[in-house]
Amino acid sequence: MRTANLNLPFAMNELIPRREFLRRSACLGAALTGAAVLPRFAAAAATAGAAPDLAVVEGADYFNNTLQAVELLGGIGRFVPPGARVGLLLNAPRWWTKPGSFTSPEVGLAAVKLCADAGAREIMLIMNPPAGYWGRPARAANLAKELSLVKPNPGQWVEVAIAEGRALKQAEVNRALLDCDVFINLPISKHHEGTGFSGCLKNFMGACAGKTNRFFHNGSGAAGEYADVAFLSQCIADANLIRKPNLCLCDSTEFLLTNGPAGPGEIRKARQVVAGADPVAVDAYGCTLLGLRPADVLMITMAAAHGLGQFDLAKLTVRKATI
């Protein structure tokens, strides 16, 4: 089942009063928190058919690649209505320091600019990057106004039930993931020792609390952390049921081909940014850049089985550009 850029409603979040949950769920099935943004989302749904499933832009300027990829998808207005609170999930925690292991700040900065240009009220970080992250690109100095919208994550967590989860029935997730009107997933595509690949779906673990992620690894009783990849992959697919992103901007510019997720390892410089609303489709494309077939990456097929997206690239419309 494909839902264009509309999210599934929140999972049965025990800490959100039932009445509030139903109110949100009634809004076109989207995970929206304010009625003011509904018309924009309705319009987006109506025009979704004209846009490609994926936009891929290759070039040396990763910031501009990102802007152009969103333009190819129909523009940021399709995804971010004025006044929205946007949640960004970067794969750039402090422990990913080595080349090709974290989302480029150029890609992150472009996302911030896009949201600001669309009239976002606030940009909430779902996981904080290390100090100095935003300032690394020289162009950050010209984006001070846009960056002023970015709010650090305060580290508040919420227990969520996952009714359709097969291995994961409950998770503790960052409150910002649930509170934002628009959820943008900003992973890097890279090698991963356990799952073979890390992209949008795997990055969702960045929105989960440590105890939840530990369950992914040892909840089946596996002796080693990667001893049960099927269970780990199923947990990742299940967790992604909690909230589907409105937009994925995947950094496939410079990434680990070996020794992921931490590195150091061999780097491929594909210089691409992959954009799409469907995290399964974005991962399906992204894993091919590492020489993998989507059908061979368990979490991708398991997420597709949940109806979270399409991994058959032959069935996807992919628009490419080089700048």
Binding site: T97, K98, G194, A262, G263, E266
Partner: protein, 151 residues
């Protein structure tokens, strides 16, 4: 970042770290403070410690490399040191020294971090140089020095 530009720096830093590591008593690896294995400042002119070295033990390794820690633990991780050196033109190197439970386990993790693209380098018992990092094995130590580029 132009990785080729950093090759000599990576090699230099890797060499110096290993020279220091070579001074460690090989029969008492668990008693040596890993900080003592870092090269003396005068031996790496142009480079300085950008932050205080941190030492990690047991589960603390997840604070350093998160999901990457699992492989090291399976191979017999004992202790690690991580630090960053700042150099010319805003260049930055990350040095990680891993003390493993035995020579065999150190070689094991070293071998897992290899690929055919690395060039053999005459450092320690075995070392390979890649585009932006060098991996070194000596005794019960595995060392990586990675070019992080301008910061």
């Amino acid at each position: 970042m132009t990785p080729v530009r950093w090759f000599p720096r990576v090699l230099l830093a890797g060499s110096l770290v290993l020279l220091a590591a070579g001074a460690a008593p090989p029969d008492a690896p668990a008693t040596v403070d890993l900080r003592n294995l870092l090269p003396a400042p005068e031996r790496i002119a142009g480079w300085r410690l950008a932050d205080a070295p941190r030492v990690f033990q047991g589960e603390e390794l997840f604070d350093l490399i998160d999901g990457g820690a699992m492989l090291y633990q399976e191979y017999g991780f004992t202790q690690a040191l991580a630090c960053r050196y700042a150099g010319p033109a805003s260049a930055s190197l990350q040095v990680e020294i891993y003390r493993m439970s035995s020579d065999a386990s150190a070689y094991g993790i070293y071998s897992m971090m290899q690929s055919a693209k690395g060039a053999a380098v005459d450092i320690g018992q075995e070392a390979r140089l890649f585009d932006d990092y060098i991996a070194i094995w000596k005794g019960s130590y595995y060392i990586s020095v990675t070019a992080l580029g301008p910061r």
